[in-house]
Symmetry: C2
Subunit: 268 residues, 2 copies
């Protein structure tokens, strides 16, 4: 997918919402838990996707939640991707994987997430340097999404270390921007730091930002919009738990649709 197509979808739907499919079996509505975790997770994902697709432009399964179910979990991850591709081909599909290895291994992860699975983008952790990212840039129409400034409390442990008078998150972004284009690179920028988001948009006007931390992690979608949007939008604002678990009753899908619609309206 090109950024032009993604910008087009954002305009049409008046939404920058990304729904995070961090599907945790033990949090499923009780009536869906039949004792077959992988199958139940798949049924839940399909219902959530059907309910929220009109209000979002991207889905983002977090791989930990599938890997922990073993081989069956990866099968269900693949079937979730296939289901979205078949029924909602306009959606942008992000593997939230935070992979961060190099060379041969990074190439294998790129092959896994872009070929074995058919994701448009994958989140990456940059600690090991530009080599962690390079193999992901060789796929036209696909994106590396590098964690720059995250939304968790311990983000400050290392992401503000300095180099050449700049904080590490800026050093990371400038290094990555130097080897990529906005057509193959996005950044994770946490929503709990709206002031930082504005500062970061200043030196990175063109790349999409994937913004976690809205909702459960405390960030405000309005503040994020005001601080982080560029002239065409340029944001994917993620909500996971606030949408997935909006209700634990039989109305879970309607409640998820309502939560997604609220966030989309907020963003329009």
């Amino acid at each position: 997918m090109t950024t032009q197509e993604l910008y087009g979808q954002i305009r049409r739907k008046h939404s920058m919402l990304c729904v995070g499919l961090d599907t945790d079996y033990v949090k499923l509505p009780p009536h869906l838990r039949t004792g077959h975790p992988a199958e139940d997770v798949l049924a839940f994902n399909k219902a959530i996707v059907d309910a929220t697709a009109p209000y979002c432009v991207a889905f983002k399964p977090n791989l930990a939640f599938y890997e922990c179910l073993g081989p069956e979990g990866l099968r269900v991850l693949g079937e979730t991707v296939e289901y979205i591709r078949l029924h909602y081909p306009e959606q942008f599909l992000i593997a939230d994987a935070k992979r961060g290895d190099i060379g041969n291994t990074a190439r294998m992860y790129a092959k896994s997430l872009f070929e074995t699975f058919d994701f448009d983008a994958v989140t990456l952790s940059p600690y090991m340097g530009s080599e962690t990212v390079a193999p992901f840039l060789d796929y036209p129409g696909r994106f590396a999404i590098v964690v720059a400034l995250s939304s968790n409390p311990s983000a400050a442990d290392f992401q503000f270390a300095g180099q050449d008078g700049k904080p590490l998150y800026q050093v990371v972004m400038e290094k990555m921007m130097a080897i990529s284009t906005p057509e193959n690179m996005m950044f994770v920028v946490g929503a709990t730091k709206a002031d930082k988001l504005k500062e970061i948009r200043g030196f990175c006007p063109d790349n999409f930002f994937l913004v976690p931390g809205v909702g459960a992690q405390g960030g405000s979608a309005r503040e994020v919009m005001a601080a982080g949007a560029n002239d065409r939008g340029g944001l994917l604002i993620n909500s996971s738990r606030g949408v997935l678990y909006a209700s634990s009753g039989e109305d879970f899908a309607d409640a998820a649709a309502g939560a997604a619609r609220s966030l989309a309206f907020l963003l329009s």
Copy 2:
């Protein structure tokens, strides 16, 4: 496994060798490639494990190489772990995963790698801070192995950024040491930087170091030993391609055993 058991195994075998199971189907000996990648990888892994177990103390599958085979790949990863547990219960089992996520997701990865799969340890990328590691420390007898200084060229992109007058890799290690003990924390320290290894051992005398970069990546095992060992050893020195692909003929297992034995002798 406790570090005392690991030290005991190192003394008995006169080896600090870790064999990296970065098994790439296209690099298997031609006579093993039957067109069923997952099954062929499993057969190869079993042969390599049988051949090298007398000369090594740890095995380290790299998850990218299994994930890229889809659900079947995870099944084969699980069966490789089970095979080693059954036949070589003294071996230390490392998931080379470089995971780097937080909170709920980190807990899911810990559950995946320590419970769904039965690894003793998992490699982690620290960019998102101490939260990336915390859930992995709650499993007695299991270890987080945090990447501190890696052995690849672009390690220098970010790992030398400064904070409080110290390089980032040291800041990372000191932060991690403050929330852990040598019984649940190890560090990745690259072998291509023997001088750095010595300096790092100075401020971190007690933790095990997992040292990649011997062989294919250019580090010398002798230099690593001299620079990085503590009084009881305290190193796991990894070799992957140099052992796995020592021969592409029908003698691949004997060649792998020979390569592993050479490295073990070097280390004794």
